[in-house]
Symmetry: C2
């Protein structure tokens, strides 16, 4: 690896582009301008395009930049915004002063997603540095709102769908299967779960009441909230919403067997976070995460939350409740099932206030496409072994939009690790994975070109 690439990544990481906090608006523009400059340095004529929120950076190869005018067209998507760095006191070195320790680069955004975005942008740069044309047409789309919900991106894609037209999307925002430096195994993620997320607030009496005077004579919204949500899962840990499993695709035996071959370290995965396997009967941990829906209470609030005792019947109580839904499930249908079910419960005259935090569709790409084959070959070339073909339990909402609006499958080829502390203090990215990422994306462009 050439040191200048690391220096450039450090320069981008030094810009505190926190999208969720309006105080960083200038830094957001600075980061977008920096990305545009980098693309300019690789021969592009990038544009920083306004949205209703933070700008998008786009760039497109001219025919003169591409070796073969008939080559496939690749759309690369990433984001230049980062999570807030709090809590600052838990960082070993400041989050916006990139620091290398033991072969790892520590900074907010090092892995999510500046480091991974730079794997691709530096791959483009390697062609420029070598005086070579690019093997494919490339469109780059780097947004600034991924960490706050990408709300302006779907309309942006809709509005610019002609300019974004391509044959396949490439995203580098996922994890490797195994990062052992002696035996790295990159992963290609071919499916992600979608998301349905609600705030459910139950309103009861018009004011906080004394639980001695009123206890037992009226509906306590905290008690009723718990009673209702407690029924969402049965004792086999299956969601009880009527019709919930109707659209869940059964896991076929070939795929199940393929996952078994991955040698997933269940004990290590759960043991690392102090947990034991627990979930829907009849499925392994990997199967539960990748192919089965889940239901989680993400937050609880209401009544007295302080130390000690306060004998209150609260005027309201609420919960954050979410579902992860695998391919073939429809977030709108699940949302409707949940809302109908909630309203069908007897809560003694309490009133529901339900906020639907815009669901996300699950995404899946064909594993037998030429693009997937190209990605496999690219990984084999640079890491010396085939990639793991994996699903992911989490959600990148925009992947479904690429399918819906642009009609494109997405190659999710990532070099992160679950242990990169993304969204947490001491986020980092290993330099050897950065190097592997740059090389693999450069190779990917060659392999995609070879599909013609």
């Amino acid at each position: 690896m050439n040191d200048p690439a690391v220096d450039r990544l450090c320069a981008l990481l030094a810009i505190p582009s926190v999208s969720t906090d309006p105080a960083y608006a200038d830094q957001m523009r600075a980061a977008a301008a920096w990305v545009a400059d980098h693309l300019r340095g690789s021969g592009f004529e990038p544009r920083v395009m306004d949205t209703a929120g933070h700008p998008c950076v786009t760039a497109r190869t001219t025919d003169a930049m591409v070796a073969d005018p008939a080559a496939p067209r690749v759309l690369f998507y990433g984001h230049y915004d980062v999570q807030p760095p709090d809590p600052l006191d838990l960082w070993t070195t400041p989050p916006f002063e990139p620091t290398v320790r033991d072969g790892r680069l520590y900074a907010r955004g090092a892995s999510d997603d500046k480091g991974q975005v730079m794997c691709f942008l530096e791959a483009l740069r390697t062609y420029r540095d070598a005086g070579e044309k690019l093997p494919c047409h490339v469109t780059v789309l780097i947004e600034g709102e991924e960490e706050c919900g990408s709300v302006n991106l779907p309309p942006f894609i809709e509005q610019h769908k002609d300019e974004l037209a391509a044959d396949v999307v490439v995203v580098s925002d996922t994890s490797m299967w195994d990062a052992d430096p002696q035996r790295p195994v990159p992963a290609i993620t071919y499916a992600m779960r979608g998301l349905v997320y609600f705030d459910v607030k139950l309103h009861g009496p018009s004011r906080d009441l004394h639980s001695g005077v009123y206890g037992g004579s009226l509906a306590n919204p905290a008690t009723q909230l718990v009673r209702v949500l407690g029924k969402l899962l049965d004792d086999d840990h299956r969601v009880t919403l009527p019709g919930f499993y109707d659209d869940v695709a059964p896991l076929d035996e070939a795929e199940r067997e393929q996952w078994r071959q991955l040698g997933f370290d269940e004990a290590g995965f759960l043991g690392d976070v102090g947990a034991a396997p627990f979930g829907e009967k009849g499925y392994s941990t990997l199967e539960r995460r990748w192919s089965r829906p889940s239901c989680d209470v993400n937050g609880l609030y209401g009544g007295y939350m302080g130390e000690g005792a306060k004998t209150v019947i609260p005027t309201f109580a609420g919960a954050k409740v979410s579902f992860r839904i695998p391919a073939d499930m429809d977030p709108k249908k699940v949302a409707a099932q949940f809302i109908d079910w909630v309203h069908a419960q007897d809560v003694g005259g309490c009133r529901w206030e339900i906020t639907d935090h815009a669901g996300a569709w699950p995404a899946a790409a064909a594993t037998d496409s030429p693009w997937m084959a190209a990605a496999r070959r690219a990984v084999e070339q640079t890491s010396g072994r085939p990639p793991a073909l994996v699903r992911e339990g989490a959600t990148i909402p925009i992947i479904a939009d690429f399918k819906k609006t642009l009609g494109l499958d997405t190659l999710l080829l990532g070099f992160g690790l679950n242990s990169d502390n993304i969204h947490s203090p001491d986020e980092h990215f290993a330099l050897d994975r950065f190097q592997l990422g740059v090389q693999t994306h450069a190779e990917l462009l060659r392999q995609i070109a070879a599909t013609r």
Copy 2:
């Protein structure tokens, strides 16, 4: 009523004796000293006695102060401390600047409990002012920690049980049945529910996790907390703890009929707080509040509680859970039933942290005692009609200690109202109720003396 009594009450109310906040320590001493001064003015030689917390004021008649050395002995209990006045901006006039509007005296503590304590202390003063001896031996015990749990009072009573020896306890800290000025109906409260209160915190993974990556594969403590606590009540709103109802005394038909005669305004009681009847099947609202146990979730906390969505599996979640238990139930037994039941639930390896916030025993006094008869006669004398004999759903923990340590029944003869805004802004006490309270307590001493 003589205006000096109101002036004296205002002087006590002007002292911000907030027991829970150490910043008010000097004011607590000032309030105790004020109470002692008042008693001195009635011929007592009071003592301000230190405890591990705020001081208790005690005073005892000498034989020379009492008309008949063989007269019964009355122990009067009350408290000079008050709730914090927050939120200050919701008070019409400042909480420690007592103000009369429309016949009501507004101030923190006006009803709970300074106004009611002064009903009794001013009753003592009427004898002094009239140059008469008291009809009974009287011991006064005014504590300063009722609003923060009376933690130092039970050992104080144990330690001073000889000096506190009496025949009956009188407390003025409860409500009237009907305060219509044209037709006031005071109440004698002969039973109160006890209390069992827990903080139950469920610890799961060693850190907050991403609900996409981990959702469905391990036990989410927020989900499991809700699932477990949701089973605490069945669909008939009965508590499901094994053995829970074993000690609940059935409501006898005579008592039930007596309550029906009270003409309780169920629709008004619940309608005033925007609620509808809801609770254990087979019981009226009054029966539920007075004679049946209840179970309430008083607070919920954990995970993401802010606006919007955060897809977290929290490392812990918790709830405040309490039970009100009618006469014959044992708080220690209920606590053990709850703890055993909680620990018997499968929570997938999550770990419970259960804090028992010291339960309180229920209390009941015989309704056919000479003291009760004396109290009835006193009310008839001053209000022109018999008192309502009522129970109370709430708890005054110390009542059970008077029974246990001193062997005494308590006459709960109160002049408050549920609408007095105790613990809330604009707390108040109507001057006509203050007057009735003074007169009735003065008469009560005569009627207790007449039981000999």
